[in-house]
């Protein structure tokens, strides 16, 4: 079989080859400029962040050695006694962990309800007044941009120590985060049911209730569950600033070098977080089907 690749005349080939070279070198140049900017940014950030490789190399052994020192001494012969000694505070810690989960739950629920109410006001397709949409959106933005721990710090001063500031901080942050996500879902819905309800004489609340909510509810629940998962992690550190939960005991154990307590509490937190991750993921899959997460 003869070769099917046709030979181009030299002049035309050279022209094409030049073009190819140009395109390749332009791409290389762009990549090089990007890499140079990246390197410059890394150097600047390393200078700002006081990165010190020598210090890191000198101290790195402390990282594994920290994990070794927080490991409990468990031997097979006396396993139960060792476990009992390691987890001596199990009753207190599970209580605190339950508190942490409840702080996350109560905060998420309050925040989800507030976000649910506000998201309809922040959706440009449901509300005529631009001002209303704008104001609601900015409010939600403030709620989620200020870190929840900062809210917790301020609330501890206003409401005193304990779980209340933690719950409120999580509730406000959740309102901001979920309000925005919910509003985005609402803005993407099908308009026809809205027209239908309005045409048959429904008022604004009826329109939201019968035309909007049935379309968005499963997405809302899925987002709220995702937020609950995130809030469990957030609630675990609320105790750092005195806002309740297991964080208080963790930071105390770290600061006072109660090594084996650190590992015991960390382990309990990790188990709780992973269990919640699995639970919420299973529920979410059932709600919105496997393909569209």
């Amino acid at each position: 079989m003869p070769a099917v690749v046709s030979e181009l005349p030299d002049a035309q080939l050279r022209h094409l080859m030049d073009h190819y070279e140009d395109a390749v070198s332009a791409k290389r140049r762009r990549t090089a400029i990007g890499a140079a900017i990246l390197v410059a940014a890394i150097v600047a950030a390393a200078w700002m962040g006081e990165v010190d490789p020598a210090k890191f190399a000198d101290n790195f052994w402390r990282f594994p050695s920290y994990f070794i020192s927080i490991m409990p001494t468990l031997s097979l012969g006396t396993l139960w006694a060792d476990l009992a000694e390691w987890l001596w505070g199990l009753k207190r810690w599970t209580g605190l962990l339950l508190d942490t989960l409840l702080i996350a739950y109560v905060g998420t629920l309050i925040g989800a309800i507030a976000g649910f109410v506000l998201c309809f006001l922040a959706s440009a397709n449901l509300v005529r007044s631009r001002t209303m949409v704008f104001v609601t959106r900015r409010f939600l933005e403030i709620c989620r941009t200020v870190p929840e721990l900062v809210f917790a710090l301020v609330f501890v001063l206003a409401f005193g120590l304990g779980p209340l500031p933690g719950v409120l901080a999580i509730a406000i942050h959740t309102t901001g985060a979920l309000g925005k996500l919910f509003a985005e879902v609402v803005e993407n819905i099908d308009d026809e049911p809205i027209d239908g309800v309005v045409a048959s004489g429904g008022n604004w609340v009826e329109m939201v209730r019968f035309a909007v909510v049935p379309q968005v509810l499963s997405n809302f629940v899925s987002y709220a569950l995702l937020r609950f998962e995130i809030n469990v992690r957030g609630a675990a550190v609320m105790g750092f600033v005195g806002a309740g939960g297991i964080g208080q005991d963790l930071i105390e154990a770290v600061r006072k070098f109660y090594y084996t307590d650190v590992s015991a509490i960390l382990m309990l937190i990790i188990i709780a977080v992973i269990t919640i991750d699995y639970g919420t993921e299973a529920v979410r899959h059932r709600l919105i089907g496997r393909e569209s997460r």
């Binding site: 940014a41 890394i42 600047a44 950030a45 390393a46 700002m48 962040g49 006081e50 990165v51 010190d52 210090k55 890191f56 101290n59 790195f60 402390r62 990282f63 920290y66 339950l98 508190d99 409840l102 702080i103 739950y105 109560v106 629920l109 403030i142 941009t145 200020v146 870190p147 721990l149 900062v150 710090l153 301020v154 609330f155 001063l157 206003a158 409401f159 005193g160 304990g162 779980p163 209340l164 719950v167 992690r233 957030g234 675990a236 550190v237 750092f240 600033v241 309740g244 963790l250 930071i251 770290v254 960390l266 937190i269 990790i270 977080v273 992973i274 991750d277």
Partner: protein, 288 residues
């Protein structure tokens, strides 16, 4: 042909309701489940309020105090120019922590994510072990990592960088491996069909598909890490959080509001920048 268009009268309505009882009747089983679910949620809520011993009497006095605080925050004021410079420097530190932490986490996670992807590494056991390891790393909050790293390298932003790096390692490892698993198989098969090895198929079949997605995810997390980097100063890991916690403790509310304003501006700026870069990399295609 007769005109079939006419308004429904009451007889027609009754007829329709009679003919389709399923559509108009109340599905008590379904409704019971919904009500039951809501009741469980409400009960758990009340149980939480009781167990956490929420002091409702303090809710009112605290709210009054909050309004007072808010009043004292206005207008935002750093105090002096020298003070403002310290704050700006701390903000720069925070951005540096977020930037280097995100980048470092991504670089560390990249090779590991291959092990966690089902379609790259054959061994199912290795994949599961890697996944669970990444889950564990991810389960620990950035603030807890910061606490650990402060113990290792001492106070300062370096500990913050390492903390963000650790928690991002877990997140990126999972996200990257998911991106690998959802990649199109055909280009990989194409490379194999032309005689490429397994490594070739990854380099020329898989990576070109996923690199833009990975870059976009890294940029997205850069923005969210700026938020978390603003608070790790509370445990001494550098950045603006230290200043913020201090000014809140000494009730310098005007400085607090100035710091919060600074954080909001910085987060908005990085949000905008990373959004631009993401679109430049992946085009107007919504990923993540």
């Amino acid at each position: 042909m007769t005109d079939t268009r006419r308004a429904l009268n009451f007889d027609d309505q009754a007829e329709i309701v009679r003919r389709f009882p399923d559509q108009f009747g109340i599905d008590w089983w379904r409704r019971g489940r919904v009500i039951g679910g809501l009741a469980v949620m409400a009960a758990l809520f009340v149980f939480g309020l009781i167990r956490l011993e929420i002091p409702f009497d303090r809710l009112i006095s605290g709210s009054i105090r909050l309004v007072e605080f808010t009043g004292m925050m206005l207008p935002p004021d750093p105090g002096s120019w020298a003070q403002a410079k310290i704050y700006l420097n701390a903000m720069g530190e925070t951005i540096a922590i977020a930037f280097l932490g995100t980048l470092g986490g991504a670089v560390l996670a990249f090779p590991v994510s291959f092990l966690a992807a089902r379609n790259v590494v054959g061994s199912r056991v290795l994949q599961l072990v890697t996944r669970r390891g990444l889950d564990t790393v991810r389960g620990v909050d950035t603030l807890i990592w910061a606490l650990i790293w402060v113990g290792v390298v001492g106070l300062g932003p370096f500990a913050g960088i390492l903390a963000v790096m650790c928690s991002d390692f877990g997140t990126f490892g999972k996200l990257f491996s998911e991106a690998f698993e959802t990649a199109d198989k055909r280009s990989i098969e194409g490379v194999k069909a032309t005689g490429g090895s397994h490594v070739h198929s990854i380099r020329f079949g898989l990576l070109p598909q996923v690199i833009p997605i990975l870059a976009s995810q890294v940029l997205y997390y850069f923005e969210s890490n700026t938020r978390s980097a603003t608070i790790i100063g509370i445990v001494g890991a550098g950045g603006i959080g230290l200043q913020l916690a201090e000014q809140i403790r000494v009730l310098e509310w005007q400085k607090v509001s100035f710091l919060i304003m600074l954080i909001m501006i910085a987060v908005a700026a990085i949000d905008w920048l990373s959004g631009k870069l993401r679109f430049a990399i992946i085009g107007r295609r919504a990923v993540v």
